[in-house]
Amino acid sequence: MTNTPPNLIPMSMPGGKSATEIGYHVLSVLVENKAGVLARVAQLFSRRGYNIYSLAVAPTDDERFSRLTVVVDLESVTLEQITKQLHKLINVIKITEIDPRESVQQELLLAIVAADTQSRSQIMELAGIFGAKVIDVGLERLTLALADTPDRLDDFTDLIKVFGIIEVQRTGRVALTKLARPSNRGGMNKGKAS
């Protein structure tokens, strides 16, 4: 019946962006270090139907502030709407969207792997290749720790699966903007922590 207006935001394609841009985005949120702030952020996401993929929180070097690194899933809503709603929280000071191409991102993985005398050396070798550390040793098990990019952690997990993973834990992602280089003067201050 009616023509779809050109400036309408279709719900299935947030912000009219191409499909490749949809997916996970990393937001670095500087908040006041006060009681209940995490609850406010979490409740905002839940109440507005936004999905959190992962979340990491820690105080910054300035103890008045904490930094939340939130990986958000943009299935149902635009990133713009999420950041605007987050900004409405009184305790939120600054929100930076972290572009994967312009940032360094790390997660920490801890994994208990089945390691009998036969497989142990193979696991150790694999750990060596990935730069993972053995942080605990049992008679038939090893606990490995690896801090790296989410992709590398995925790869590592896939490989050690073969030996039998007893338990695995991953942290939320933390990220910082890449440092400025002489060829990239525009981003001089982007890497500041707080």
Binding site: M1, T2, N3, T4, P5, N7, L8, I9, V31, E32, A35, G36, A39, R40, Q43, L44, R47, T78, E80, Q81, K84, Q85, H87, K88, L89, I90, N91, V92, I93
Partner: protein, 573 residues
């Protein structure tokens, strides 16, 4: 000066200029009620905490000043949750202070303990749990600042009993310390210029006016802008009164039960100049079919509203009043100033012809002599002194109130728009009368709504706050009945309330009101005139209205605004 936390709270409210609070005491808030005896602040003792919240809202809507409510912990806090949610939806500045169990008992499931800050987190602009009495003046100052600046809204301060009793050194803070809260009020000059250009270029423009214009005190400025542009205006349910209904450019209310002309003008428009409105689903109908040819200028102080529902061609973050003033200047400045307005005479003619063809209509002289609710509201409006405030509950009577009352001033229409809170009318009217004792305050209410909050008429009588209630008694939850009739094959499920149970006249009299019952059209005017003469007591008029009446026009839920149902008065034309 060493004083208790409770004294500091009351003193902080005084410093903040509060002259009246609505409340009800209880265990955890007891320490605060002691210094209230010695304070010049007037305390109005409500009969239910929800009433305190809605009174604070009514006060705020009538005065544009923040309303304040004080209640105790636990059930009192949960009782006021509805009012907080209501104020959050409609951007009403209220400050609610709740008692809390002692800090040492928090988290132990103590008597009358509830996680008030947790419960109200998503329905307040911000809330505070005070842990030390020294924070009280700072938090009170911040709370009023947050409630009244930017996009106004409710805030809550949760005050544990031991903190109220704790001694502190009194101080009054010079400023607020909110590093994460810096609302933008001035529109970006480049956007203002772009908006002015679109306004000059538009052939079929419509001003889409929301409650933000009232909250920002921008209605005078709006009149100047509209007269300068000579462009039609629609005022949303929250924006009624922001622009006078008797102005020839006013098309009335848009949306689900708006006028045909207001709805269709937006549909056919090529530019919506959106000021302090939020593209609510009740206004847009099916969003994908809403105003398909219109470019959008969207002015709002809340950046999150811009692009939330409909992408704006020119989004402007700013205080609506300031932006209107900036727009008025920009229309005369530079290149845009040289341009002529492009609005066409055909557009004006088209609107006029719609207004003539499809006005609001109801059966004015029914053969069976039944009493039409629209007639009652029309008479109330005609007989009301200038500047009378009308409060409303939620349902059919609210729509008839909005449609048939003639609004000419901002802050004279007080209703629950976004949340749709039944029972809002009576406490809101009381709050409005407290804020504006110089004005007559009427409430239009339904029988369903009346039964939810009528007990506050006891408050009105006891505190000598004379309000007038027009109770449109159709013996049904009328709006629900209308939907069941139209969309559920007339299968009426749990909507019948009975016309005479309770006996509303006896009930009103028992609460200290003067009460009348009107059953025929002939009695409407004389009884309203009688009520208007009574200034020392509250009055309830129960109108036995025609239960068959439905609200029209109507855009059925989920339909586009092209599908306006005009109702039986237009059938066969």
């Amino acid at each position: 000066m060493r004083i208790t936390g409770a004294q500091a709270l009351v003193k902080s409210l005084e410093m903040q200029g509060v002259d009246v609070v609505f409340g009800l005491p209880g265990g955890a808030i007891l320490p605060v009620y002691d210094p209230i005896i010695d304070s010049p602040i007037r305390h109005i003792l409500v009969r239910h905490e929800q009433g305190a919240g809605h009174m604070a809202e009514g006060y705020a809507q009538a005065t544009n000043k923040p309303g304040v409510a004080i209640v105790t912990s636990g059930p009192a806090a949960t009782n006021i949750v509805t009012a907080l949610a209501d104020a959050y939806m409609d951007s009403i500045p209220i400050v609610v202070i709740t008692g809390q169990v002692a800090t040492t008992s928090i988290g132990t499931d103590a008597f009358q303990e509830a996680d008030t800050t947790g419960i109200t987190m998503s329905i307040t602009k911000h809330n505070w749990l005070i842990k030390d009495a020294s924070e009280i003046p700072q938090v009170v100052k911040e709370a009023f600042h947050v409630a009244t600046t930017g996009r106004p809204g409710p805030v809550l301060i949760d005050l544990p009993k031991d903190v109220s009793n704790q001694m502190m050194d009194w101080y009054w803070p010079e400023s607020v310390d909110l590093p994460g809260y810096k609302p933008n009020t001035k529109g970006h000059p480049r956007s203002i210029a772009a908006a002015a250009k679109l306004i000059k270029e538009a052939k079929r423009p419509v001003f889409y006016i929301g409650g933000g214009v009232i909250r920002s005190g921008g209605s005078e400025a709006l009149k100047v802008l509209v007269d300068k542009c000579n462009m039609p205006v629609v005022t949303t349910l929250m924006g009624r009164g922001a622009f006078p209904d008797d102005h020839p450019l006013c098309l009335g209310m848009p949306g689900m039960h708006g006028t045909y002309t207001a709805i269709t003008a937006m549909q056919k428009s090529d530019l919506l100049i959106t000021l302090g409105a939020r593209f609510d689903d009740r206004v847009t109908g099916k969003v994908s079919g809403f105003a398909p040819d219109a470019k959008i200028i969207h002015v709002d102080i809340d950046p999150a509203e811009l692009g939330k529902v409909r992408r704006a061609d020119v989004p402007i973050v700013g205080d609506v009043k300031l932006v209107i003033e900036e727009l008025i200047e920009a229309l005369d400045k530079g290149e845009v100033g040289e341009m002529a307005f492009s609005i066409t005479q055909e557009w004006h003619d088209q609107l006029k012809s719609w207004q003539e063809q499809f006005p609001l209509r109801y059966e004015e002289d029914p053969k069976d002599g039944s009493l039409k609710p629209q007639y009652v509201v029309e008479c109330l409006s005609k007989l009301a002194p200038e500047g009378t405030i009308l409060a409303s509950g939620v349902g059919q009577h609210q729509m008839w109130g909005s449609q048939y009352w003639h609004f000419n001033d901002a802050n004279t229409w007080i209703n629950s728009g976004g949340l749709g809170t039944m029972g809002f009318a009576i406490p809101a009217a009381i709050g409005a009368k407290v804020g504006r004792p110089d004005k007559m305050v009427w409430a239009v209410d339904g029988d369903g709504c009346f039964q939810m909050t009528a007990q506050e008429l006891v408050t009105a009588s006891a505190e000598r706050i004379p309000v007038k209630i027009a109770l449109l008694n159709n013996a049904y939850l009328g709006m629900v009945r209308q939907w069941q009739e139209m969309f559920y094959e007339q299968r009426y499920s749990e909507v019948y309330l009975s016309p005479d149970l309770p006996d509303y006249v006896k009930w009103a009299e028992a609460m200290g009101c003067v009460a009348f019952r009107v059953e025929t059209p002939e009695d409407v005017i004389p009884t309203i005139e009688k009520a208007n003469q009574i200034n020392d007591r509250s009055v309830v008029i129960e109108f036995r209205t025609d239960w068959r009446e439905k609200v029209f026009p109507m855009v059925p839920s989920g339909a586009t605004n092209d599908e306006v149902v005009l109702g039986p008065m237009f059938e066969g034309r």
